[in-house]
Symmetry: C2
Subunit: 345 residues, 2 copies
Amino acid sequence: MTKRPKATILDIARAAGVSKSTVSLVLQGSDLVRPDTADRVRKAIEDVGYVYNRGAANLRKAHSNVIGMVVNDLTNPFYAELAVGMERAFQSAGVVPFIANTGENPVRQEEVLKSMLEQGAAGLIVSPARGTPPDAFRRIEATGVPIVFAMRRMPDSRIPVVAPDNRRGAALAARHLLGKGHSRIAFFGGSSDLVVYQERLGGFREACREYGLHDSDVQVFESDTSRKGGMTCIDLALASETPPTAALCFNDAVAFGAMLGLRRHGLEPGRDFAVVGFDDVVEAQHYVPSLTSVAVDTAGLGERAAHIVLKMIQSRTTSAENHIGAVNLVVRESCGPDRNSARGV
Amino acid sequence: MTKRPKATILDIARAAGVSKSTVSLVLQGSDLVRPDTADRVRKAIEDVGYVYNRGAANLRKAHSNVIGMVVNDLTNPFYAELAVGMERAFQSAGVVPFIANTGENPVRQEEVLKSMLEQGAAGLIVSPARGTPPDAFRRIEATGVPIVFAMRRMPDSRIPVVAPDNRRGAALAARHLLGKGHSRIAFFGGSSDLVVYQERLGGFREACREYGLHDSDVQVFESDTSRKGGMTCIDLALASETPPTAALCFNDAVAFGAMLGLRRHGLEPGRDFAVVGFDDVVEAQHYVPSLTSVAVDTAGLGERAAHIVLKMIQSRTTSAENHIGAVNLVVRESCGPDRNSARGV
DNA sequence: TGACATTATTGGAACGTTCCATTTATCAAA
DNA sequence: TTTGATAAATGGAACGTTCCAATAATGTCA
């Protein structure tokens, strides 16, 4: 419809009878311009329907104001929550972050990161896709753009990380299960190419050892970190010679899947088989039976990550402390009652 | 760390022993440059770790390649699915969309849209926040940037819309319930400031009239479009003098909430009270009881919307046909058996 | 009133790219 | 060879902003 070329700072200057420099000052909210002139300029801006050209501005300015968050799976409510936490922090800092989804696809991730960089992102928060090659972030590190990993991390990278205390969380959950008297216990879901997996499994194994189980006694089933993956795990577990009676799942999605699978086998989660999840997504408490899970304060970690990049940008550094968030086990129905009625709660 | 100023096209030119124009041509994949020269240039690009400055380019070029999707609530899996559908379409077109969340907040939405525009967005897909003022998009229309509404729309706006056939979907669901013999039936959730609400409620009422019910016979409870809202609705409904025996819910979130609420009242959804949702999010089939819902092909609509903006951008027009997507009722457990055992099915 | 300090305003260069009009290299045919 | 045509490469202006140095306007005080 509107064919007229978009208005620039010069058009405004003309309309308000001032120079482009003055308009620029007004745009930046400088107090070097007399209030009534500023008003006149603002009015002109309004009148011509001017839209600021950030691209042009960034050409001169040191910093752009775009911050990108690259997440591996937006359909997972867990990451959506993370994104929302970050947004909150950014909002109060007056910046609008751009979110991009990689759908757990390293190739897509590459494209997305490239695009963010080209757009002149001032900072990046990334939860890397599964299977990201080790050198994927070298390029970015070289550019000096502040970047932090959230929730997930790369094997040995100097990029700061914001994540929950996976090891401790898993140990907490495992101890709870073991304390209930389960002796054949399994770990469901995830795969060893994820650092998070190693941490969680590590914590799990640690707790098992504390209770005198050998590594060979605990069964571990890798799978997708999805509902489907959880169903696969339970199928395999129940088919084994000595089926476990309890499982800690890599995340809540896997746990939901496992519970679904149990029902399919005619077993009731909680009563016949104890299930514990990880992440404590909102659904966990509403599910039937409600899911015992390790709460990690997702949104809080998101906010934290946002603050860290913001600070990195401001102090133009590329390094920061890692932040390992506290975790706690929230016990609900899915982990069932004590097995060994002799023991305490 | 890296303090060296970032490389420009000129640095590459120097390194490759050509002119900046040649580098520019290579960057654009032009075939006007001799293959071996192109290779030399590409090598130089690689060597210096050059990152393309899209801002600078857009200053000269007509179109940028950023497309924004502004969604009202990313934590709602329904909208996350929508976003993913769009991404798929954009990906195969080689563009990286930027997602921004408004969290159902019109003020935030304003900021987000402004930012997208300033960034030079070539096109926009928006599902407007609840309570968006009627003139919120006038600014954007004036700029001539292609924009389409997805899932939600504004009262009377000429902006093209991609949405499911809400009226028909609601009618379908209501007829199913009425056909089962329910005569006291309610509509749960949503509020009249949403066009979608009016459409769904309209279809619902239409079906009720077909079955001889008066408008006064059907009970309507407005609420948040969330789980919490659903719980409120069921509380109110059960407290009424003539409680309904079935409800169509504004969306699946409300339906989940209603089912939760029912349990709290000692009633079993499906058996004691029929619940039908809308949108058919992935959880619907996994819930216990599984939720009968109106499927709208969310991701498909997302793709559709993406294609439409893409076409609008290409043909530099600001108008397009609306797209009303087909819907169908997927019957599961939550709507229970027939009431009147004399009747069919 | 003049001189000076202070406050407001301004012109021009620069940012990194694209695109057009040219120039230069290459190749075929005469 | 020379010529002409075609292919390849190039210099410079332009895009819309910021920032600096410089100028113009205003205010203060003797």
